[in-house]
Symmetry: C2
Subunit: 414 residues, 2 copies
Amino acid sequence: MNASILTIGDEILIGQITDTNSVSIARHLDGAGIVVREKCSIGDDRGRIVAAVERLLASSEVVVLTGGLGPTKDDITKKTLADLFGCRLVHNGTVAAHVERMLAERGIAYNELNRSQALVPDGCTVLFNAYGTAPGMWFERDGRVLVSLPGVPYEMEHLMHDEVMPRLRARFALRQTVHRTMITAGLAESMLAERIAPWENALPPYLKLAYLPNPGAVRLRLSAYEVDGRKVAEEIDRRFEELRRLIPHYFIGYERASIQELIHGLLTRRGESLATAESCTGGTIAARFTAMPGASAYFRCGVVAYSNEAKRDVLGVDAPTLERCGAVSEEVARQMAEGARRIARADYGVATTGIAGPAGGSGAKPVGTVWIAVAGPHRTVAMLRHCGADRGQVIDRAAAFALGLLRDEITAAG
Amino acid sequence: MNASILTIGDEILIGQITDTNSVSIARHLDGAGIVVREKCSIGDDRGRIVAAVERLLASSEVVVLTGGLGPTKDDITKKTLADLFGCRLVHNGTVAAHVERMLAERGIAYNELNRSQALVPDGCTVLFNAYGTAPGMWFERDGRVLVSLPGVPYEMEHLMHDEVMPRLRARFALRQTVHRTMITAGLAESMLAERIAPWENALPPYLKLAYLPNPGAVRLRLSAYEVDGRKVAEEIDRRFEELRRLIPHYFIGYERASIQELIHGLLTRRGESLATAESCTGGTIAARFTAMPGASAYFRCGVVAYSNEAKRDVLGVDAPTLERCGAVSEEVARQMAEGARRIARADYGVATTGIAGPAGGSGAKPVGTVWIAVAGPHRTVAMLRHCGADRGQVIDRAAAFALGLLRDEITAAG
């Protein structure tokens, strides 16, 4: 079964916000075996909403849309959909009582605009929004479904999970979608593709292969849509096992989790601890760990040592080494990792020092030159990586390489 | 002039990645006065690519698309566009030499798949991709333009900036788009809308008002498309000045740049320096500063002091205070900010300490409780904020409050 996602709001089209609602909705639908054919974003404009809904309903059994349900004049989705589906707006007592109660809790008076939120099209099924004042709406026409949800991400998320997905599962006979992703490292995309061509060419037509190149790694995803899930999952496992035997030295693992999630799991299980010393990555590595619930069990301390003085005074890098080798050097990276480990009394210390650019490069050390080091209970290792030319790219790649080296060292020590 | 954005890739439709390319492209186009009418995402499917390009070219003078330009079989955009525009794929010596050089730098052999990247449609203008191996392409038909860019964000970004925007400015007579956003706090969206209704109703039709509700604030954006920029900007200033007099107690400021960009500018101009001491925000504040080119001029050192030991040993928070008040307290926040400022010998220190959750909350200090402090040349200030219940939300809001307090203190000291 096919679905489309429509997100409404001028703020999306001018680039004022990043549309994450459609990502979340896509995951819900894909996870239930519904094939998302298209995502589309348009502005708060009556004519464009009507045209997009009609176009998407012609090609998909289900359309999920978000946005434009607020109480103010610029929010026109509800009125537009009511007209499109030939409904009248009628007062809904349940919604009215809920809105009044929510506002009262925040000390807000119930006014004419809030009253308008309790008006719903008489031909739709109202989806109760426990976390906000704008209800969701479920319309049907000629066996097709249009669902309209508020644009506030957590309200949308709760409605998808609690109201929309159970109804879709009950309403349609859904098949299954299977995705599995293998991570490889050490072969560039083109070399990998050349190497595995015979394997790729022998794939059955219902298995779709995608190459997802990343800094330092190429991921391979096999996908099958609307199939018997268990049987196809076994087939994908067999195919990936064959592939693994073809490229034994480049196989890293399967993507079930991000590399920081893997490290998070390893350190948590072993009761070991971590400290970071970042120069060019500027706190990015620390922020990736601390974004995960439970990080405080192992994450002791991070230092963003941007200046030479901070490297010396906070991390204990010695001044003659800084003078002799420069801040971007193997020796300084090693001392930073060991310094972080020492001051935090942690089991592992990971360090980055490099030139993020755009300024600061030289002939010998161009922008993108990064030294990475990991200090562990038994040894300290360091490596040099060239991480590109764009500042954001250098930060991302350096963080990815550092996390890779850290994972390898933790695994080797275990 | 109208434009549409098309992003291609199954990974977008299954929710494996968040499409940020279309956000960046939207900002480039909007900033040049080009009106983005639609964003659309589809899978790597020949028929769907053809249908989407034809549909969007019928409604927009310019279509910018990304994705599907890699060297592997799942990347079919180039061949599809060549057929669509009636072109043959021909060998391009400049692209070939560039790809060969890029690969040689990384020690990668130049193979048949890389050679295919040097094939370009003979009817298009090749856009040189200095940062990657897949060139951009500029097609024209009946006075309309289709631009195809690689999906790797950095490569796309450089091509938009260096190649696409200068050509669009030269090729079309562009008018201007003006957006200005006012930040209000203290009135719920519906109450604000009721209060300012007479002002809203008196707006001229070419000024479009949008309400953007946020945690703790409602932003009001006035937008005008394809106008005389300077004249309309003055008109918007007058209208917002009227509005400000209507709601003097709820007016917070204007959103011109992100708050870290404002602080970056202030510190750079004044030659002052900054250090951070983060607990619950876990490096997010440091990472926001260090992501900006030129941050090394003022950013000295950041400490992510997650454990009590790190707060004590690295930042010098005194042990009896930690014991007596707990890590999430005004006293500890103040000492963290002062400690960061002292160890980094910086002009300003900013600190956060709070409970990001989901665990660690208590009746007196629930999840979301965050103390924020700023230490400056003349004084240290602290404030308590409740930052929500979701871990990511707490980190984001705490960072936003901390940056706000830092900006206020820098401004007050100046």
